[in-house]
Amino acid sequence: MLTRGVAMTDTNTTPNWHPVVLPQLEVNSERALLVAWLVASGEAVKKGTLLGHWETAKSVHEMTAPRAGYFFPRVAEGDEPDFLSVVAMIGDTNQEPPPSPPHRAAASTISATRFTKKAAGLAQQHGLTEAAFQKSGIITERDVTALLNQHSVPQIPKTSSLDNLRLPSGLTRILVITGGVGAMHLIAILRHQARVNVLGCLDDAAELQGHQLFGVPVLGPLTQLETRWRNGEFDQAIIGATADVALRRRLFQQCKALEIPMANAIDPSAVIDAGVVLGEGNIIGAQVHIGMATRLGDNNFIAAKGNIDHHNHWGSHILTGPGVMSSSFVKVGDGARFGTGIYIEPLVTIGAGAVISSGALLLGPVPADHLVKVRVTTETVPLKKNS
C-alpha cells in the first residue's frame, strides 16, 4: 500500500473526516500529477480500495484508501500537489466536509511591500500613506519626492478676502489669458495701473472655472477668445502663464493671429531708464530695473528684483525667476528661461531656447537650446541629535 492516512486530532464535532496525504512517492520529485480518481465524490470506500493514479517523473503510482468511509477529493484530475499534502478526505458519514483552509501560498520569492525602505521613511516623515499615491506597484523615493513637490505648488482658493480689493475702473479693457498663479501675479501688478480695467481671465482648466482672482472672474475656456474679441469686449490682452515658455509663446501667437494688441504690465516700483524700447505683452515685476538704451521684445516675464542693465538686447517669450542680474551689453535670444538668482557678466550672449539653472554665474556665451547646469551641494542636517 502506498498511502498512509493521518488521523486528525480528536475533536468534539461530529462527524469526523480523516485526511488522505499524498506520500513522498520518489526522492527525485517534489510533487505528483493526479491522472485520475477512480472513486466518485461521496462514494463509500473500504480500506484498501483503489482511489486513484498518481504520476511522477519515474512512474505511475496507485493510491489506496487508508481507512473505510466516504471519499471526498481535495484536488482535481490534472492537479499536481506537493508530496505530503492533503489530497482527499475520508469521512465517517457521507456528509461533505467543510472546505479546507486555503492552500499554503506557494513560497513566493517576491514580497508584497509597497514602499521602498527609503520611500517609507520619507513618506512617514511627511505623514503620507499609500492612499496618497495614484500608482500601482512599488512606491519609490522618487515617487514620494514628486508628490511632495506637487504639494508645494500653491493651491489657489476659489475666492479670497482679496476679492474686495478695489481695482481701477479705467479706460483700457484688458483680458488676461490663463487664470492660474501667473495670472494672479499679473492682476496684482495691473491693479496699480489707474487707466486699465481688467475684464476677466480665460482658462481651459475645468477646476478654475468660477474662480475669482482678486475679484477678477475666470470667464470660461480659451475658445471664447475670438468671440469676445470680435464682440469688442476688450481692447488688449496679456498672458498670465509664467512657467512654460512654449505655452506662453503659443498663446501669444494665438492672440497675434487675431491681431489683438497686447498690454504691458509694469509694476510701479520698476525703474525703466531712458531710451528703453519695450515691445508688447511684457510683465515687469516689482523692483525690476531696466537700464538705459536696453531693448526688450514681446511677451517676456521679468520677475521681481531683476536687473537688465544698459544696452542689453533681449528677445521675446523669455521667462526669468526673481533676481536675475544681467550686466551691460548682454544679448538674450527668444524663449530663454532663467532660474532664480543668476549673475551674467557684460557682453555675454545667450542663445534662443537656452535654459539657465538657478544660481548660475555666466562668464561666457551660452549656445541656443543648451542647458546651463549648476552643481550646488547643500545639505540639511539636524542641529540636535535624534531630531
Binding site: 527525485n28 490534472g78 517576491i110 525602505k117 506597484g137 512599488i138 519609490t140
Partner: protein, 339 residues
C-alpha cells in the same frame, strides 16, 4: 488536462504541430507512453501518433544522427535529449553533421532538425544531471540556440523551430520551469513589474519596476536565473533604492543585440547573470558583443554573475549553496552602482 504548467504547454504545442504537419517526428529515449519522457513533455504523443514517436536505445549520437538523416530527406524531426548533460554525446553529430550540411552546400541543403533538452540544477540531481551546458553550443556556426521562458508564448516558439526554419535549432528548457505556471498570457505587467516583449515568435521579455525609466542598471539573464533576477531586482529597489530593468533572453545565439543595446543604453550599467560555470560563459560573449556598442554610454565595466563551482554537489541543500543566488546578484548590483 488543461495546459496548467509549462510542461503541459510544451506538450500541447507538440501535439498541435504534429497534428498539423506529418513531417514532424519525435525521437528520443523513453518518449513512449505510458512513461512519456523523463519530464513528461512527450506524454500522449506516441498514443496519438504511434508511427511518428520513435524511442531509441541509450545513444544520443544515434538520436541526433538519425534525425539529421531524416531532416536531409525532408522530414522535420524533434530530438529529445533526456538531460542537457547528455548533449556531449551528440556533440559531433551537431558540430560536424547537422550544422555542416546547410553551410557546406551554401544553404542549398536544408537540415531542419530541432533538439530540445532540459538544463539546470536546483533539483538535487547531482554533478552530471544538473549542469547548464549551453555555452558549449552557442558558438557552433549555423546552430540557432534559444531558451524557453515563462513570458514566451509557447506554441509560436516551437512552431518557428519545428516548421519555419531550414537549419538546426537547439532549444534549452529549464528543468524547474517545467513545473511552473506559464506567464505568456500577461500583457503588460507581472507582480509589481511592468512588462514589455521584444520580437515576434521568439521573444525577449523586459521587466521594470519603475516604468522603464530612471533605472540604474540592466540585468540580462535567461532560463533558470530569470526568477532569481526578478527577486533581486525587487529587493534592490525596496532595500537600496537601486532600480534595474531585467531582460530575459529568448534568443541566445544569435543574440538580440539591438534589444540588448537599447535596454542597456538607458542605464549604462550591465550585469549578466547565468547559471552555468563562469569561464568562457554565455555571459562572456554577451559582454564581448555588447561592450563596443555601449562603449561611450558605459558608466561601469559590465559585470557577471555565474556559477563559481566547478562541479555541483548531489545534496540539494549544498547545490543551492553553490549555484548563483539572489544574494550574489544583489551584491553585484550594489557593486555596479557604486563603481
Amino acid at each position: 488536462m488543461t495546459a496548467r504548467l509549462m510542461v503541459h504547454q510544451i506538450n500541447a504545442a507538440l501535439n498541435e504541430l504534429m497534428a498539423e504537419d506529418e513531417r514532424i517526428y519525435v525521437i528520443g529515449e523513453d518518449v513512449l507512453d505510458p512513461y512519456g519522457g523523463a519530464f513528461k513533455v512527450t506524454k500522449g504523443l506516441s498514443t496519438r501518433f504511434p508511427q511518428r514517436v520513435l524511442t531509441t536505445p541509450i545513444s544520443e549520437a544515434v538520436i541526433v544522427g538519425a534525425a539529421t538523416g531524416m531532416a536531409l530527406r525532408g522530414l522535420r524531426p524533434v530530438c529529445e535529449i533526456m538531460f542537457g548533460d547528455f548533449l556531449g554525446l551528440a556533440f559531433d553529430q551537431i558540430l560536424n553533421h547537422a550544422t555542416k550540411y546547410p553551410l557546406m552546400y551554401a544553404q542549398n541543403v536544408p537540415c531542419p532538425i530541432t533538439i530540445r533538452t532540459p538544463m539546470g540544477g536546483r533539483r538535487g540531481y547531482g554533478p552530471t544531471h544538473s549542469q547548464s551546458l549551453e555555452k558549449y553550443f552557442v558558438g557552433i556556426p549555423g546552430l540557432e540556440v534559444t531558451a524557453l521562458h515563462r513570458f514566451q508564448p509557447v506554441q509560436p516558439f516551437y512552431r518557428r523551430a519545428l516548421l519555419d526554419g531550414d537549419g538546426p535549432s537547439l532549444i534549452i528548457e529549464n528543468k524547474m520551469m517545467y513545473g511552473q505556471t506559464p506567464l505568456a498570457h500577461l500583457k503588460d505587467g507581472y507582480d509589481d513589474f511592468q512588462l514589455r516583449r521584444h520580437g515576434r515568435d521568439v521573444v525577449e521579455a523586459e521587466l521594470s519596476l519603475t516604468g522603464f525609466a530612471h533605472e540604474d542598471l540592466t540585468l540580462i539573464t535567461y532560463g533558470g536565473m530569470s526568477d532569481l533576477c526578478l527577486s533581486a531586482a525587487k529587493q534592490a529597489l525596496i532595500d537600496f533604492e537601486i532600480s534595474a530593468n531585467v531582460i530575459i533572453l529568448g534568443n541566445l545565439s544569435p543574440l538580440p543585440l539591438d534589444v540588448l543595446t537599447a535596454a542597456c543604453e538607458r542605464t549604462g550599467r550591465v550585469l549578466v547573470v547565468e547559471e552555468g560555470t563562469r569561464a568562457w560563459g554565455v555571459g562572456s560573449e554577451i559582454v564581448a558583443q555588447l561592450t563596443p556598442r555601449l562603449w561611450s554610454r558605459l558608466k561601469a565595466a559590465p559585470a557577471r554573475v555565474a556559477c563559481e563551482a566547478p562541479v555541483l554537489p548531489n545534496s540539494q541543500a549544498l547545490e543551492n549553496e553553490f549555484l548563483p543566488s539572489v544574494a550574489d546578484i544583489l551584491q553585484q548590483m550594489r557593486a555596479l552602482v557604486t563603481a
